[in-house]
Amino acid sequence: MSTCDLVILGADYDGQLVDLFVGDGEIIELVPAGKNTPPQGAETLDAKGHLLLPSLTDVHTHLREPGFEYKEDIESGLAAAAKGGFGNIMCMANTTPVNDNATVTELMLEKAHMAHPFGPRLFPVGALTKGLKAEELAPMAELSRTGCVAVSNDGLPVLSTELFRRAMEYASDWGLTVIDHCEDPFMGAAAGMNEGRTSSLLGIPAQPDVAEAIQVARDILLAEYLDLPIHLAHISCKKSVDVIRFAKERGVKVTAETCPHYLTLTEKAVVGYDTNAKVNPPLRTEEDVTAMLEALDTGVIDMLATDHAPHAAHEKEVEFDLAPCGISGLDTALSVTWELVTAGKMSRATFLRAWTVAPCTTFDLPLNTFAKGDPADFFLFDPEEAWVVGPDTMQSRGKNTPLTGRTLSGRVTAHFLAGEKIV
């Protein structure tokens, strides 16, 4: 039996006032407010007016270290995660050098531990192929032993279906799920703009939604044939959702994520050539936004992820065609998605599944459901606190977001991981 050393008093948990008892980094119990008296010596925290939520998990970020520390580093990225409500962070392998060997994975883990000893916890995603070059398999056994929890060629899709199939097979030997960035490399690749009405008016090269859905279909057929799991990254459009729904009905082991920006923004955000709205896959249409929200609600899309892609200001302050793709998302994701809950566009249950249960069970990460013995990973959230998105209010070094200047509501006021205060 753990000894209670922390009590959160009077927090709002799904509309009920509760007290949370924590000991030795674990949940002891969550009870109606005032039911039990905090024991002598336990630290107490008055949480009146705050929501109590379990820490979120982000399965898709780019923390840029090693190699691109001017965009972001592990210290600043995890600081943004902590303030953004995230307790578990998975980071992609497209660093320099690429995370395709134990040395880079160890460096990432070491940097994270040095900068944030109590978390957020970092779970690197290893490269699927050496150097992300889509030529030879990465040493996945080594990556797995060092701490990588998945493998992916994120951002640089594997064109060869034969190589991709072998990668899925080999990854399965080491219990690693393959995460695929679905994009036909010949159809408007990395254009960062949806092909359609707006791109036709603006006259910029664009990527059609089928460029994503075609690769989704390939991956699903392979997963079914091999009877292996596949995780589909940042799904952005209705056509992909239709293919994934079909696969799930057939029992294919497919999981999928989408990002807050695909639930809230459309291709119109690019009008005026806003490079901060340039992201891969691109922002789609109103119809896609509706389909993504519905797919998340029904579970066709399992989880949310930020695809946090920080860039330096000068890299985005160029002609649209020359700007790199990506949106900095760790600072804003929680507020943006909680606003959807408040607006009735997403249920609280879906929010919790998409940000906690689904990602943690898919990638076997620490999960708090407030049951006895769960890791005491939670945060207090003031849903009313308004804040204006901008360089001064963001923790991430990457200030590149189309939400710049927008007032969002809701901020994390305290964040605990395994009972330790990280915010």
């Binding site: 791109s199 036709s200 005026g272």
Partner: protein
């Protein structure tokens, strides 16, 4: 009319009244171009930078002539002679130019949105002389002006834009302007050279040239860039010409006295039959002359503007 716009990024910024006023102003300047001494002191002491980051002869010369006829000092900056080839960003080039305090910058650039990019960062007027595939407002205005002089009025007229619409800033700006003027616009070209979505475009689309040209009052041929073949959008020029090259034969299906326009430079025998280009139906050289007058009107109005609140 008090001119209030700082920048000309596309024709969509202009009202019908402003376009009519531009035509009248250009008409006035056209007269100057027929004098023995083709120079007036209107913009004496003012300077215009011609910043052409993409090859251009006709548009650049046209602006240069227009500026000099109004006694403005014109300065040329081309990509090969600029720091852009040394890796300088457009932002830094813009700020450098700004520091030299010109009254206007005319920009031609290969990326869509680059004129707006400059306009957002500079205090002086920015005139878009073609940005990527996006817009070429001065070309559309000179085309409109040419037709205004030819037709007198626009209502009831139909014009066909023929060729590579997808990559054409000339087509985009002309669709907007001609629609504003009351001209019915048709588009014709292979599907591979049409924009992926024409939703919301006030146009009729034809794939068959003989159908498209029937009864029209004018045809605007677009230059076919030879690299479209390499990009897999066309089999070859021979097949393209056999299907979409406008000839006298097609013009017999058009309305009586129908005219032919081309923004230049022409590929004779590819998008326009060489013999047709040299007939009286061709307005190609009128377009060049109108271009100088229209650009004089634009430089005059933008450089002497009084910005509203």
């Amino acid at each position: 009319m008090q001119w209030r716009h700082k920048d000309l990024l596309d024709v969509s910024q202009l009202s019908r009244e402003e376009v009519d006023f531009l035509f009248e102003t250009a008409n006035y300047f056209q007269e100057i171009n027929s004098r023995p001494v083709k120079k007036v002191p209107t913009l004496k002491g003012r300077s215009v930078v011609l910043f052409f980051a993409e090859p251009s002869t006709r548009t650049k010369t046209s602006f240069d002539v227009a500026g000099k006829r109004l006694s403005a000092d014109t300065f040329s900056l081309s990509k090969s002679g600029s720091s852009l080839t040394k890796g300088e960003t457009l932002k830094d080039t813009a700020l450098t130019l700004q520091a030299m305090a010109p009254d206007a910058i005319v920009i031609r650039h290969c990326y869509s949105g680059s004129a707006q990019f400059l306009a957002e960062r500079l205090n002086c007027s920015v005139i878009n002389a073609g940005d990527g595939r996006h817009a070429h407002p001065t070309q559309a205005l000179l085309d409109g002006f040419t037709l205004w002089q030819e037709w007198g009025e626009f209502s009831g007229k139909t014009l066909l834009i023929l060729g590579d619409i997808s990559h054409s800033r000339v087509a985009r700006s002309n669709v907007i302007l001609l629609n504003m003027l009351g001209v019915k616009v048709r588009l014709c070209g292979p599907r591979t050279l049409l924009p992926p979505s024409l939703a919301g475009w006030p146009v009729e689309v034809y794939s068959e040239l003989r159908e498209a040209v029937r009864g029209v009052d004018a045809v605007m041929c677009l230059r076919l860039q030879l690299e479209r073949q390499q990009a897999g959008l066309l089999p070859d020029l021979r097949e393209y010409a056999a299907t979409y090259c406008l000839s006298e034969k097609h013009m017999t299906l058009a309305a009586e006295g129908a005219k032919v326009l081309h923004p230049g430079p022409m590929n004779r025998g590819v998008e326009i039959a060489s013999s047709l280009a040299d007939t009286n139906e061709s307005l190609v050289l009128d377009q060049v002359a109108s271009g100088v007058a229209m650009r004089m009107a634009l430089l005059f109005l933008y450089m002497t503007r009084k910005e509203g609140k």
